[in-house]
Each structure stands twice: as structure tokens, then as C-alpha cells.
Symmetry: C2
Subunit: 330 residues, 2 copies
């Protein structure tokens, strides 16, 4: 995806629906020219409102659909804006389940104008099967006790901290939000099952000996729906360093009231054991805890307890930053 | 896939290329009306040669392409036979990578004649994500130290033995050869990664309390290319019983000279640990060893050693049958 971007919010009803666009503004502000909002839109990214005409004049390359829409339907009013952007010569990127390329009118228009439609949730290239051979360069992977517990945020925070210290680091996106933020990546849960680890090997290729790929994890080895994806990711990344991400107030695995969360130590142990298949030297370098739902008074006690159990740095990437984890990598 | 079948061998150069068709004849002889061979064919299934005209007259419902072809190309001479079968009103089933449905001439002809093209390597339905909820009925899954070490053969042998004893058992196919033998199933490594365990839950639904699904395993938790598939299969099957399949003369993981085979006990332990996520009562009930490449003198000593280590029945399903494993399930 080529920057600069115009971030399209449509007419979404709340700020949460614009989470992806907010992520792009937070992590890649230098790429964001402005936001495009339709009448009735209740989200605001805190950046200037711009029209497609203004964006075109300023050299914006890509309209990014940075919002979720109930049911994945593209409203006619959204299609009008997308059409206008294509006519203005912009590429369009979307993380929606419904593919832009499957809307004949948009596909034809894009072909005519010679612009690209990036449906980032749907991999378009094919991959080889994995081979597990060691590659040069170093890799860190965020793994989780569950889905949606901060793996992407943690990886992006580590990349930012490493770069601020002058280290070579590249965030490697494996989900649609991460891809829209990074501008590239592979939506790993949409790859054909045979090629999970092969796709991750492709995404995190051989590199300089002092370069770190910071790989966004997916799911959890303990989630009965998605553990296969998590394991393929673990093997394909052949991580040198793992960071465990955890949301301490969750009572059960996401979406499955009958499925308990794993014990922290058991979760770390199983991840290490599986990861050793492709990197015998793998180790955990820290825990990243999303403590936003915890009373402040409880947070420090919990973090101390986790430090005692694991002997590792424990951070909240949002509240306290990831410095202590990056210290362990330097 | 509707029986009876006419098994198409084309003009393949050796018996090995007809392995799938041989499997169908071995495991489902009652469904096989005959074989159709073209000039130059060097394989023989040991069943009568029949023409499409003879098959049509006898009520054959499906032409099964039971062979592999170098490069996955369909020779023009094969297409002629497939066309003739469609014109005779037969469905056509294929496990080739190249889809019949992608050959416009065949797709159009099939639509005209109202017959089905079964490209069993390519799932056509969509699945839900897995949920891990316990289902009624019992399930056995064959798992492996590696790929291609007897998981399908073992599962089919167990199904046959159980049925011979009057037990309720259904082989559940997860790969294209198994699907062509069983007549249905899901090619699990071709499913989108997010839906691996969900597809297996669909394939092995709730059933009578005394009914066994005998689920064909895929890959190995220790194969860096395919472990994600193996784990999703393990979680989705929520197996009560596991059988470890092993090829003792292999020196490294299939296709990967740098990747050692796992230790038998470690392999069993990791499979159990992962399987407990969706079935805490899972246990191993036996080992199935493909000893065809072992000198007979060595076999018994090796089997005795494995029995001593594991405390379980150890069989070669081809040489000695799977009786002792089924004894453990009765």
C-alpha cells in the first residue's frame, strides 16, 4: 500500500468502528494525510477532514477503508466515495471481509484507471510449504493466552521502541488491521492450511544478523478454534524471542464460555516446547499485560507476582511502555 | 460420490501411480465395477477391464480418476474419456490438484448433462470456526511421528476390524485419497487456516454414544510445514483415543533432510497434552508401525521394545492386523 493515505470512515456510528483507522494514525501518523467522513459519521481520528479532491491535489496515493461495518455490507454511499477515489487515480485498501474486487463495478473501474484494489484480508499470492530451515536475522513473536489480548499492539510498541534506540526492527503484520497499519503483510488465518508456516517463512525472510523481525502473533495454542494457525505461525517464525500477551480480567477464552483460560506457566511452557522444533534456542523475554480493565491498586501486585513466577520483565505496553522487554534484547 | 465406480487409470506408467485406485479396490471392493485403461497403461487393479459403454449399461454412477499424473496435467486422451463418461451421464471424481471444474469444456458439458464433478482435493463448502464443545459419540484419531507413515491405512484397518466385530464405526477421511476411498470427507489441508478445527468438528459430528468415528490424521505435530494442520485436526476431533503411526526406518522428516524425527515418547506426550484442550480424557490406545522396510528378525524385537516403553499394543496393520488395538476399545 502506497502512502500517503486518506482514511475513509464512512458514516460509522461510533469510535470503536474506526479502530483500524485509529491504529494507522497512532502507529503511522506520517502516512496519514487526512480523514474522509460522510454525513452522520460519529468517529473522529483527530486529523484534518479532507475531500478526495484535496487528497488528489496533495498527491495522496491510497484511500484506506479503515472501518468495520455491521454485516460487512458496503453501503451505496461508501461505494460512491470509493468510485470517486478510483476515478481520481487512487488505489483503495480494505480490510473488510467483502472484497472490493468482487464488486464488478469497482473492479472494472480500477482496471480502466490502472489502480490497485488491496483486499488485505484475502491473500492473493501463493506460498510454498514451510521447510523449517534456519534463516539469518533475529525474530520476536508475540504469543497469547487468548485471542485479542494485545499481540499486535505489543509488537508495534516493541518495533517503535527498538527503532527509537537505533536498532534494526521491522513489524511483520499477520492480520488485516496490522497489514493496514504496516502497509503490507499476510493475513495468515486466511491462507490455505497447508501453507501457514510457509507463508510466515516468506513474510520473515533471511535478514542482517542484527535485524529483528517483530512478528504479530495470532490466536493462542489454547484456543480450540485457532490453535492450528498459532502453531504454524510459531514454527514459521522460528522465533528467537517470545513475548506472552495476556488480558488478566478475562474469564474464559474469547467467544467460548465453556473454555477456561490457560495457566500462564503452562501456556509459556507449551509455546516454548512447540517453538523449539524450528529454533532450539527460543526463550521468553517478557510478558505484556493489558491491564486497562484492572484497578490501578491491583496492577502492581499482579505484575510483581508475574515477575516472581516467571523471572521476566512484565509490562503494560500502553500504560508503562515496553522498555524493559527491549532491554532484554539489546 | 455415488457408487458403483468405474476406476480410470489412463495410461500411467507404473503400479505406484495407481495407488489411490488400488486403495479403493482394497478398502471398498463392493463399489468397484471395473477399471478403464488406455493403451500403454502399465497399472492393473486386478478387476475386470470395462468400457464406459459397459459401465453405463450396468448402472455405474461415477468415473473415478484414481491416478496421479506427472505435473498434474490432464492429457488430451484422458479428457476424451472424461468427456465420454459425462456424456454417458456419469459423475466424475478426481483427487488431482488441477480441478476438473476449471476445464471449461468439462464444466460446461457437466452442467448441460446435469452431472457432478467432484474435485475432492478442493473443499467447496464453507465451515464455521471451531468451538471445542464436547459432542456425543466416540472418536479415534491416528496421529504420526511424520507425514506418510500409515495414518490413513491404520484408520481404515481399524474401521474394518470394528465393523467385523459388529461395532459402529465410520472412517472419516481428511485427505484426497481417503476421500476417494470413503466417498466423502474434507481435504483438511486445503481448508482456509481459520477453519481447520471447525471443519473437523463438522466432519465428526455428534453421534450415538457407542459410535466411533475413526478419523484419518494428517502430518505431524513435529513437521515444521504441517503441524498447524495436525493441531487443528487434534482439537477438532476431540479424540477419546489416539493411535500413533510410525515408520521406523525413516532417517529424517519427510522432505526435510535437516529435520530429525521426534522421539516416540515425546511425540505421544505432546499429542496428549495438546489433545487434552478439547478432551481431558484422551489416551493412546496403541501404536501402528509400518514395518515393511524392516528385516523380519528386527521387527519383533522393536515391537517388544515399544510395548515395554509405552505399555500399549503395538501392531503392523498390514502384516499383523489391528486386532489388539480394537481390543482396547471394546
Amino acid at each position: 500500500m502506497e502512502p500517503p493515505y486518506l482514511l475513509f470512515l464512512g458514516d460509522v456510528g461510533d469510535q470503536l468502528a474506526a479502530k483500524t483507522a485509529s491504529g494507522i494514525v497512532h502507529w503511522r501518523p506520517e502516512r496519514c494525510f487526512g480523514q474522509l467522513r460522510l454525513p452522520g459519521c460519529r468517529a473522529d481520528l483527530g486529523i484534518p477532514d479532507r475531500s478526495i479532491e484535496e487528497a488528489r491535489a496533495a498527491g495522496v496515493r491510497t484511500l484506506v477503508i479503515g472501518v468495520a461495518n455491521a454485516g460487512g455490507i458496503l453501503a451505496e454511499s461508501w461505494i460512491d466515495s470509493i468510485r470517486e477515489a478510483i476515478l481520481a487515480g487512487m488505489d483503495v485498501a480494505s480490510g473488510l471481509h467483502r472484497k472490493l474486487a468482487d464488486i464488478p463495478e469497482l473492479a472494472e473501474l480500477a482496471a480502466e484507471r490502472g489502480v490497485a484494489l488491496h483486499d488485505v484480508r484475502h491473500p492473493t499470492r501463493s506460498f510454498s510449504t514451510g521447510n523449517g530451515r534456519r534463516r539469518s536475522g533475529r525474530r520476536l513473536l508475540t504469543v497469547g493466552t487468548d485471542c485479542s489480548c494485545g499481540k499486535m499492539y505489543t509488537a508495534l510498541a516493541i518495533e517503535r521502541e527498538m527503532r527509537a534506540r537505533g536498532m534494526k526492527a521491522t513489524f511483520r503484520a499477520t492480520g488485516q488491521t496490522g497489514i493496514l497499519i504496516a502497509g503490507d503483510g499476510v493475513s495468515i488465518d486466511a491462507v490455505v492450511a497447508d501453507f501457514i508456516s510457509g507463508a510466515v517463512e516468506w513474510l520473515t525472510p533471511a535478514n542482517d544478523a542484527d535485524h529483528w523481525d517483530i512478528v504479530e502473533g495470532q490466536g493462542s495454542l489454547f484456543h480450540p478454534a485457532f490453535a492450528g494457525v498459532s502453531l504454524g505461525l510459531l514454527h514459521g517464525a522460528q522465533a528467537d524471542a517470545l513475548v506472552l500477551c495476556h488480558e488478566p480480567t478475562r474469564r474464559h477464552m474469547r467467544g467460548l464460555p465453556h473454555q477456561p483460560l490457560p495457566d500462564i506457566e503452562e501456556c509459556m511452557d507449551l509455546n516454548l516446547r512447540a517453538a523449539r522444533l524450528t529454533n532450539p534456542d527460543v526463550r521468553f523475554v517478557g510478558l505484556s499485560v493489558n491491564s486497562s480493565a484492572l484497578p490501578a491498586a491491583e496492577r502492581e501486585a499482579m505484575f510483581e507476582e508475574l515477575r516472581r513466577i516467571t523471572g521476566l520483565p512484565v509490562v503494560d505496553p500502553f500504560a508503562t511502555g515496553v522498555g524493559p522487554i527491549v532491554d532484554a534484547l539489546s
